[in-house]
Symmetry: C2
Subunit: 204 residues, 2 copies
């Protein structure tokens, strides 16, 4: 372990790839998506502006890694939520939705990045799989709802796409303030109302 630490800390400061991603995530939250330049990220990581090219093919590759970190963060929060509400599928559906929307409100610029056209261009394998994981969890919660008799029978992936669209729309509109610059209470109310409307339509 010590040797590993020694090694990764060796030349200049090591662990640069992770440091750059972390710097990217932080700058995204602090200054928004337009302030995120490769040169500033490098400066924040205390390396020259050319150093990132040792670890990322280009700017898009770094942004993809930042987006991927976002998907992993979101998926982990969703897994935690699913485990916590394992015994009640109805609560589980609501809490997963809240999870998704709240992630967007907490990390608006990162959510923008995650659903920008990067995925079309960059197409890094690991980004695609991290994104898929998020959708799989959504599908799984729908299947839990079906097994509990809360959600009608039918293609669970199709129903999950509908749920996804609702939650994604809520997240995108709320994070940009279209539902009013509401309090946490107001936010929660809007999420609950929208999901209640949808779940009524999805009922068995």
């Amino acid at each position: 372990m010590e040797k590993q630490t020694q090694k990764t800390k060796s030349y200049h400061h090591g662990r640069l790839r992770e440091t750059l991603i972390e710097a990217g995530v932080a700058m995204l939250e602090e200054e928004g998506i337009h302030a995120l330049s490769l040169r500033k990220v490098a400066k924040r990581a205390k390396v020259s502006h050319a150093a990132p090219y040792r670890h990322f093919e280009d700017k898009v590759a770094l942004l993809s890694a930042v987006a991927e970190a976002g998907f992993r963060h979101l998926a982990q929060a969703m897994e935690q939520t699913m485990a916590d509400a394992e015994q009640d599928p109805h609560v589980q559906m609501f809490e997963i939705g809240r999870c998704y929307v709240m992630f967007g409100i907490a990390h608006p610029a990162q959510l923008t990045l995650m659903f920008s056209d990067l995925l079309k261009v960059g197409t890094s394998e690991s980004l695609l799989s991290a994104a898929s994981r998020t959708f799989e969890l959504l599908t799984q919660s729908v299947e839990n709802g079906q097994q509990a008799g809360l959600i009608r029978e039918g293609d669970s992936a199709e129903i999950a796409r509908t749920v996804w669209a609702m939650e994604h729309g809520l997240a995108m509109l709320m994070k940009e303030g279209f539902f009013g610059e509401g309090s946490d209470q107001g936010m929660n109310h809007s999420i609950t109302v929208a999901l209640e409307h949808l779940l009524a339509g999805l009922a068995a």
Copy 2:
């Protein structure tokens, strides 16, 4: 009229403001949001890179105008759809949703721009009113549905926000290809399925 044409066409080529907005819309569709630079828009309009500053305070102001054109375009399509389906509120709901999502699929980069954080920063009065108009039309169609007994009673603005979130989520995810690079048929099916699920939950 002739005098007006003469006047607007006078120095160099006149009507530059409109020409720049049109160039911006066109470039957005052709090359995407990242290719849209002030200098390229100016070149396309055959003026120097400094000329746009006679008509727009900065790049954000030009982008706001392009976003505003998008909202006006969308609102007009929605109005047309509402008029065409005036006699059947059920059809009206579906067609307005289709209108919204199809606009996103036809103009993905412009929709991205319309819901980027420009609205937060730029805050041009006319952009805000164009955006509000879109939401008002959505609310109106919900009220039509309520009057026809298709949609439950209650705060129409609240229900309209739910409908908006669903349609917005669909548009955003579909335009980025998350529902598969489907045919028009597949797209239409996905839209229909999602709206059916939601409208069942909103039923009286």
